[in-house]
Amino acid sequence: MSEHKAGSNLEKVLSAGHFAFTGECGPPQGANVDHLIEKANHLKGCVDAVNVTDNQTAVVRMSSWAASIILIQHGLEPNYQMVCRDRNRLAIQSDILGAYSLGIRNMLCLSGDHQSFGNHPESKNVFDIDSMQLIHTAKTMRDEGKFLNGSDVDVAPKLFIGAASNPFAEPFDFRVYRLAKKISAGADFVQTQCIYNMDKFREFMKRAVDMGLHEKCYILAGVTPMKSVGMALYMSKQVPGMDVPPSLVKRLRGAGKGKVAEEGIKFALEQIEEFKEMEGVAGVHLMAIEWEHKVPEIAERAGVLPRPVV
């Protein structure tokens, strides 16, 4: 992995062997650029790249490519997220070209939450291609300079291609094979779903390492600090594919009034410490949902600052 495929900061940090630290920023539900910049500025200097979500949970927001460009204009490197729910293969390839042309260098390929979750459940979904095929499309465009129909791309988009992996969705035994499939399809890096069940994640990583997947792809462990007991209960009951062990809920409850958020951060910090040492884990993806202002503190306490300049 010495030769750069896209030359993004994230790729350089990872290929230089540093423990990567990425963040996340959801675009506004409107054209509130100031709010986006304010949230993103908290992450500046604390992370190697910022995931910019694409109509997350199927709620309409500013387009992820536009928000990504705004981040670039303000000195942050975006990890442009793209879901297959809202666009067909024409729009997907066209957006990849547009995003690359405007300076985007990382792209995370996702299927996307079903629209029934969001604020336009009446909408028609697309799912012309799936996330696996999206990864492959981005790779084919980059490495072979070909569109999906086989015709030539006039200047190939050189993107560092990301994929998501949820070790906690079922069937568990197949999850590591699906990760392997994403890597074969072209994923350069993987960001996992928020991890709370550490035992299960350790087992997942053991299997990934046994298969040598960590040598073919950078695996970033997903961390979302719990802000409250309510959030933990919501995550465990309402969010599909999320595994929140009762022991964590108990621990948060035991923290006492006014101290739950700090306990949530402590748990996240303990996780990050373990991930730094865990075989096969190349970094952490911190999803501090609507808690961007806490990222500098978490990064500082996690000992991942200053971020490497490669």
Binding site: C84, R85, R89, S111, G112, D113, H114, S116, F117, N125, F127, D128, I129, D130, S131, M132, Q133, H136, T137, L148, A164, S165, N166, A169, E170, P171, D173, F174, Y177, R178, A180, K181, S184, A185, Q193, P240, G241
Partner: protein, 222 residues
């Protein structure tokens, strides 16, 4: 079969409120099997319309007639001598029926009496589930005999997505995750190698995306 459900009676009454001579046309095909549009249901709907008319103090004449099939001009033709007696027709066949009736009897107002749902079958008494999306290029043998296009909420060919939990789909606890079923079945059959094969983007040209479809069997065309 094609699975349909009755439209709410309120909606039907509103549709035909301006008509005094109404013919309810049933179909002995799929809608009879799924208990929504056969002779029995035609009789029930006709009598409901009659009672409602009486309640309103209106002189409404309601006839009923059930055809062998409404997706075949030969059977549709059977109505030619009676349809003139009516000024509105409610077809309780799938969406094909009222359209064939409209085409054959352009002067008569045709109304759909059912909502056509999907192609599927009865999984238990009174419960039907979707099985086929009619994409035009069947490949279920690649997926343990289960169709991810019709049965995965995202039609993933390389599933399961991260929303699969306890064998259920992320959209509802009432929906099985077909990818959970596919993976479980294929792993039991020791076919993991097939599951790890990358399935390329599908050509949707044979599906509805390719435009309205028509099939011509030259050997059958007279």
């Amino acid at each position: 079969m094609i699975v349909a459900e009755s439209k709410p009676i309120k909606e039907l009454l509103e549709m035909v409120k301006d008509f005094k001579r109404i013919l309810v046309v049933g179909c002995k095909g799929c809608v009879t099997v799924c208990n929504v549009g056969g002779a029995k249901e035609a009789a029930i709907l006709a009598s409901t319309l009659r009672i409602s008319g009486k309640k309103e103090g209106l002189d409404v004449m309601v006839g009923e007639h059930t055809l062998e099939r409404q997706c075949d001009p030969e059977y549709i033709n059977e109505l030619k001598d009676v349809i003139g007696d009516y000024d509105a027709v409610i077809s309780i066949a799938c969406g094909v029926g009222p359209q064939f009736l409209s085409e054959r009897y352009p002067d008569t107002k045709i109304f759909p009496g059912v909502n056509t749902k999907f192609m599927g079958g009865a999984v238990e008494h009174g419960v039907w589930a979707e099985r086929c999306a009619g994409c035009g290029t069947c490949a279920i043998h690649l997926f343990g005999g289960l169709c991810p296009i019709a049965r995965c909420s995202k039609s993933l060919l390389n599933g399961p997505c991260g929303g699969s939990s306890n064998g259920k789909c992320e959209i509802s606890q009432d929906v099985d995750c077909v990818w959970d079923l596919i993976v479980t079945k294929m792993m039991e059959q020791d076919r993991l190698d097939e599951l790890t094969v990358f399935r390329p983007p599908k050509s949707w040209t044979t599906a509805r995306d390719g435009g309205p479809r028509k099939m011509i069997r030259e050997e059958l065309v007279k």
